[in-house]
């Protein structure tokens, strides 16, 4: 039962700095135990939203509720949130254990209780043996774990991660993404990540909120976000795509025919005839082989980029348009640069977005 109860509710939160709107009536509901990512470019308001939840930024309007309590006007030290900062913000004058114990000490917990919690938190992040170390003697990855242990130790109602993995190098970051997700599920934490890294968002979260200009453009599960982007912005920000501009010729029941520089294409979408649209498809939908009910376009191969499990082929389709196809190892022969090829992709996987929303 409790799984379905809204745990964190953000209601119509707005925030302006001077004339600039940072958050524009944000609504967000997070269930208990859910991992949600706020994904967007810098300046989209994701960090400000996180800070509003933590109590470090006061919203101009709107409400924040956590675990059934209105915390809109509650100062950060009474919110029972755990924050992992981008810089980790570990206390340099304390040891690893001292950092992890900090929150409990401040709360006046008994020493035995503190020791037990510190040990538990440190073993959770696999640093049980480093409690006596100085912070400066740790590697970046270890510091990241200490910051996590410190936030977990107080058993917060929600864990907030502000670009928490971005300071790690790529390999370590990818390892931490998987490990962190498993760990958070293990302790049944409710968590919100802020990141500009789409891979991190797709890997770590149950749901992803794509943010742009202070608004949430789409809130969806990673798979749905990728397969059914709700806006051109969401399409662009998550994953690669082929995008071709055109004009709607005819609309019929959720499907449109679009005249483009590479020929007539069909796509999903509701538009009036004459609308300017962008037609888009994900690169793995584009095939060299013929497909049933499909769009297709021809052109000359401009580049072939081998990336291990996949090969990206960019095709110059004329009229300033290009096609991007991702060929997996199974697809047989890979074309060479300057080859003339024809690519086709299913209409059911072709989207159309209004042109004016282009960013």
């Amino acid at each position: 039962m409790s799984e379905a109860i809204p745990h964190l509710v953000v209601r119509s939160v707005s925030k302006k700095y001077g004339p600039t709107t940072i958050l524009d009536h944000i609504d967000l509901t997070v269930r208990r135990g859910e991992l949600v990512t706020l994904l967007g470019p810098s300046g989209c308001g994701k960090t400000t939203l996180l800070r509003a939840i933590a109590g470090l930024a006061q919203p101009d309007t709107g409400k924040v509720e956590l675990a059934g309590r209105d915390i809109t006007n509650v100062p950060p030290h009474k919110r029972n949130v755990g924050v992992v900062f981008q810089s980790y913000a570990l206390f340099p004058h304390l040891t690893v254990a001292g950092n992890v114990a900090f929150g409990l000490k401040v709360r006046g917990a008994a020493k035995r209780e503190i020791d037990a919690a510190v040990e538990r938190a440190l073993s959770l992040v696999k640093l049980g043996h480093l409690g006596g170390r100085r912070i400066s003697a740790l590697s970046g990855g270890q510091q990241q774990r200490v910051a996590l242990a410190r936030a977990i130790a107080v058993e917060p109602d929600v864990l907030l991660f502000d670009e928490a993995l971005s300071a790690l190098d790529r390999k370590l970051r990818e390892e931490m993404q998987v490990e962190l997700r498993r760990l958070l599920q293990e302790v049944k934490a409710t968590a919100i990540f802020v990141t500009h890294d789409q891979d991190e968002a797709l890997t770590m979260s149950d749901r992803v909120a794509v943010m742009n200009k202070g608004r949430i453009e789409q809130l969806a599960e990673p798979r749905e976000l990728y397969l059914r982007p709700a806006s051109l912005f969401a399409l662009n920000f998550v994953g690669l795509s082929t995008r071709i501009s055109g004009t709607v010729l005819a609309a019929d029941n959720g499907k449109v025919d679009v005249e483009t520089g590479v020929g007539r294409l069909s796509a999903l979408g509701n538009f009036q005839a004459g609308s300017s649209v962008i037609v888009a498809a994900r690169p793995e939908q584009l095939r060299i082989s013929e497909q049933g009910e499909a769009n297709s376009a021809a052109g000359r191969v401009r580049s072939v980029v081998f990336q291990g499990s996949r090969t990206l082929v960019e095709v110059d389709a004329g009229a300033g348009e290009s096609l991007l196809a991702e060929l997996s190892g199974r697809d047989g022969a890979v074309p060479r640069v300057h080859d003339e090829i024809r690519l086709s992709w299913p209409v059911a996987e072709t989207f159309a977005f209004p042109m004016e929303a282009q960013v």
Partner: protein, 265 residues
């Protein structure tokens, strides 16, 4: 070529160190002179001049005054200077650079000019109580040391630490006390020491504000040397020197350890 340059530089460094330290060694040697007139080579050693320090006319009141003024002005400067440094280091203050320069500027002003300016200024507003004027004047002397050190220290300080402490359950003032103060301990220590020393041995500013009953130790010492130049003064100087060396040595150990404990890698 490079080798020669290095040798020359090393020689210069050693020569300069000797040049700077030699007078201090001489005064230390003189303080143990068995005769009232210091003469090399020494014909023996005596500690009797040390015993005479406490019997110098007006020594204790002057020492007490200097300690009071130095400690108080340092304490006030640490609090006020740190607050000002926070405003400057956070950078959101328009013209922060100008404020920073203004706070540090007394360092660059000749002491005599500062002394005369303060004397005239205090007279003009009818502020003449010697003890109080000395304290205010020494604030002018000590504030730049504190401001300079704390601005430097704070520019390295990650203010996210305070936010982290707040989300962990600390009130804002609590976060400052539990996180910022200990993290900045090395800066506080350095600022405090330099501020204390600058106040304790100040002569050119104090001389304008002292009166017959209110004389700081440096003023009193100059008076002794005019009245009776015997090795008692050398003994006193040696004691002050020893005290300073101990203070610096101890704080270097403390700060050194703190540095190792985290603030810088």
């Amino acid at each position: 070529m490079a080798r020669t340059a290095i040798v020359v530089c090393w020689a210069m460094a050693i020569a300069l160190a000797l040049f700077l330290l030699a007078p201090l060694l001489v005064i230390a040697a003189a303080s143990f002179s068995p005769t009232p007139v210091f003469d090399l080579p020494l014909t023996g050693a005596s500690t009797r001049w040390y015993g005479k320090i406490g019997r110098l006319d007006g020594f204790w009141p002057s020492l007490l005054l200097s300690l009071q003024i130095a400690l108080l002005s340092t304490a006030i400067s640490l609090v006020c200077g740190t607050l000002a440094a926070i405003a400057i280091a956070r950078g959101k203050l328009p013209g922060a650079d100008i404020f920073a320069t203004a706070l540090v500027s007394p360092l660059m002003m000749p002491g005599l000019v500062l002394g005369i300016a303060l004397l005239q200024g205090f007279r003009a507003v009818g502020f003449t109580a010697p003890w109080a004027t000395l304290l205010v004047a020494h604030l002018v002397i000590t504030l730049p040391y504190v401001a300079r050190t704390m601005i430097a220290g704070l520019s390295q300080f990650d203010f996210t630490l305070i936010e982290a402490a707040r989300t962990l359950g600390c009130t804002y003032p609590g976060s400052v006390l539990r996180v910022m103060v200990p993290a900045l301990a090395p800066s506080f220590l350095i600022a405090g020491i330099f501020s204390f020393l600058a106040s304790f041995d100040n002569y050119p500013v104090s001389i304008f504000l002292a009166d017959v009953r209110t004389k700081t130790l440096p003023i009193r010492m100059l008076q002794y040397i005019e009245e009776a130049p015997d090795p008692t003064l050398a003994a006193l100087s040696t004691l002050i020197l020893a005290g300073t060396v101990i203070l610096l040595f101890v704080s270097d150990r403390v700060v050194g350890l703190h540095r190792m404990a985290g603030t810088s890698d």
